[in-house]
């Protein structure tokens, strides 16, 4: 049985919930009151994750922390087809890891800006937003040329990978941190494709689903 230590408004927790649901994995959710309770700084939670970060999972008695690590763990262990993390195709793993690290940078910038705006965290908002725009520019350029070569997803292939799941939440939530998406048309098309994936359900703060079908 997998236990997810979860906060409903966290994009990093959301990505883990997405993959758990897509893989059809039974799991128990333990809510952690991140805001306004700051329960992630409590002694009880710091024993589980000394970094005080969400999400964390416990799988077969083993604690795994860090959203990207959890995605890789779940996909490698529970997706025998290797769609989400193609262990049998080593040449694809490097690029996927590159974008998993990119997702961490999204957390450091866009998620921080969102915490400033929505949860009143005290931090340098101008630098968080500038950092977010810098990353969205990089992602938009990457996706625009990927489309030109006929690819729909962050890493070449017929299907999305954990790289797409890892990057999706904070990109989709950027406007909650005052980071406009208007300048990133290729990013918006990718967000649109991702939300049309079968079984996708948005989290709070994301716009409702576009009409089903007619994916571009």
């Amino acid at each position: 049985m997998i236990t997810l230590f979860d906060y409903a408004l966290s994009g990093n927790c959301f990505k883990v919930r997405l993959l758990l649901n897509w893989l059809g994995l039974a799991h128990e959710v333990k809510p952690v009151d991140f805001y306004p309770g700051f329960e992630h700084r409590s002694d009880a939670f710091l024993t589980i994750n000394p970094l005080g970060q969400l999400p964390v999972i416990e799988d077969d008695g083993e604690i795994i922390r860090d959203a990207q690590a959890i995605l890789v763990h779940l996909a490698a262990r529970y997706d025998p087809r290797g769609h989400w993390y193609p262990l049998d195709e080593p040449h694809r793993l490097g690029p996927i890891q590159t974008w998993l690290a990119f997702a961490d940078a999204l957390t450091a910038t866009i998620s921080a800006a969102r915490q400033h705006d929505a949860m009143f965290f005290d931090l340098d908002i101008a630098s968080a937003r500038a950092g977010g725009h810098r990353l969205l520019r990089i992602l938009d350029e990457h996706l625009w040329f990927a489309e030109l070569e006929g690819h729909d997803w962050i890493c070449p292939g017929d299907r999305p990978t954990v790289a797409d799941i890892a990057c999706f939440p904070y990109v989709a939530l950027s406007e909650e941190g005052g980071i406009s998406q208007a300048d990133y048309p290729a990013v918006l098309r990718w967000v649109d494709r991702f939300t049309r994936l079968k079984g996708f359900q948005p989290m709070a703060g994301m716009l409702p689903l576009p009409l089903a079908g007619a994916a571009t």
Partner: protein, 351 residues
């Protein structure tokens, strides 16, 4: 593109109202023994909230000495608020009573931080920034008045990147129910809301509506469908009392938005209902779904209401609300009597 003309150019009238700033539960979590301090923002003004000698106090979040944030300090012995920088201590009136670096010197008269009217009600801390006219009350909430309401939940506040005016209009907007909340709050087959009378009574905008009973079969069991009785204390509170169709019991949904800035609001919610055995998570989770459906849409609107927006007869509640805000803003320029008249003159349509 010329920027749209705002509905009210002058928002200073809002300083004469009581606004919620935090829950008592938040203050309890912010410091040992529930004394705070907790930093909040109201109408762009940073405030520190604390409980000193059992009394709730709101003061400018700035030490008179070197402008450090008092909310980063701590409450000593439950009596005084101590600045984190040089340890100046303030009493509940905002006056400095001790300067540790020179305890024997006379304390300068200017060594104070401004304190504001502050009170606790409904498990929520309220602040009024300008009490010079003293003609406003803490908004009405009926959760504890009705013996039928056996369980009351004071929820944690949630923040939206939108104005308090937009939040109020969204909450009372009948014509978006069927569209944004199909299957949650409203059956899309019954999309046309009735246009109902609105009354001004004692500083509240009141109205009543009865959505079609036929929808009952197509909505989830948690959906609070019934006759809707609204008592909304200006400027941002709503007491929605519902007589549920499903079992004729009472259900109360209360909300008040706090105007953090022109584009941000902090929203307080109280739910009360007749079933003492119902898990709090059930009604709370239902409201979370509703909020999740609304929030991203409302956040695409610019914060301030605009005179250029087009209104229809079905927008009557919003139109009446906007009209009253304009009157209050204009009256406040003319002083206490004009403001009191604009707020407290009753106008009845329903009689």
């Amino acid at each position: 593109m010329a920027s749209p003309r705002p509905l009210v150019a002058d928002r200073t009238y809002l300083r004469h109202f009581w606004h919620p700033v935090c829950t008592v539960a938040e203050l309890d979590r912010a410091g040992p023994s529930g004394t705070g301090p907790l930093g909040v923002t109201l109408l762009d003004q940073p405030l520190v909230i604390a409980r000193l000698d059992g009394k709730f106090v709101a003061m400018d979040d700035r030490c008179a000495h070197r402008f450090a944030k008092l909310s980063a300090g701590k409450v000593i012995d439950g009596k005084v608020l101590q600045c984190p920088y040089h340890g100046w201590q303030y009493n509940d009136a905002g006056r400095c009573v001790r300067m540790p670096a020179c305890p024997k010197e006379a304390i300068p008269a200017k060594a104070l931080t401004r304190a504001y009217a502050c009170a606790e009600r409904y498990g929520i801390v309220w602040v009024r920034l300008d009490s010079s006219w003293d003609c406003t009350e803490i908004p009405y909430c009926g959760a504890w008045d009705d013996p039928e309401l056996k369980r009351v939940i004071v929820a944690d506040p949630y923040d939206w990147g939108s104005s308090a005016e937009r939040r109020w209009e969204n909450f009372t907007d009948f014509s978006h129910f069927a569209y944004v909340h199909p299957g949650t709050l409203y059956d899309p087959a019954y999309a046309e809301p009735a246009i109902v009378p609105t009354d001004r009574v004692g500083g509240e905008l009141r109205f009543y509506m009865e959505p079609g009973k036929e929808m009952l079969g197509s909505l989830p069991p948690d959906s609070p469908l019934g006759s809707f009785n609204y008592r909304t204390s200006m400027p941002f509170a709503i007491n929605l009392s519902i007589r549920l169709y499903r079992d004729d019991s009472q259900f109360l949904l209360w909300t008040a938005s706090s105007p953090v800035s022109e584009n941000t609001c902090r929203n307080f919610m109280i739910i009360a209902h007749a079933d003492p055995d119902l898990d709090d998570e059930v009604p709370l989770n239902f409201q979370k779904v509703v909020l999740m459906e609304d929030q991203p849409i409302i956040e695409t609107q610019p914060g301030p209401l605009s005179l250029e927006e087009i209104s229809l007869p079905t927008d009557k509640i919003s139109n009446q609300y906007r009209k009253w805000h304009r009157e209050l803003s204009a009256a406040a320029v003319n002083g206490a009597d004009a403001f009191r008249a604009a707020l407290l003159t009753d106008i009845l349509e329903s009689a």
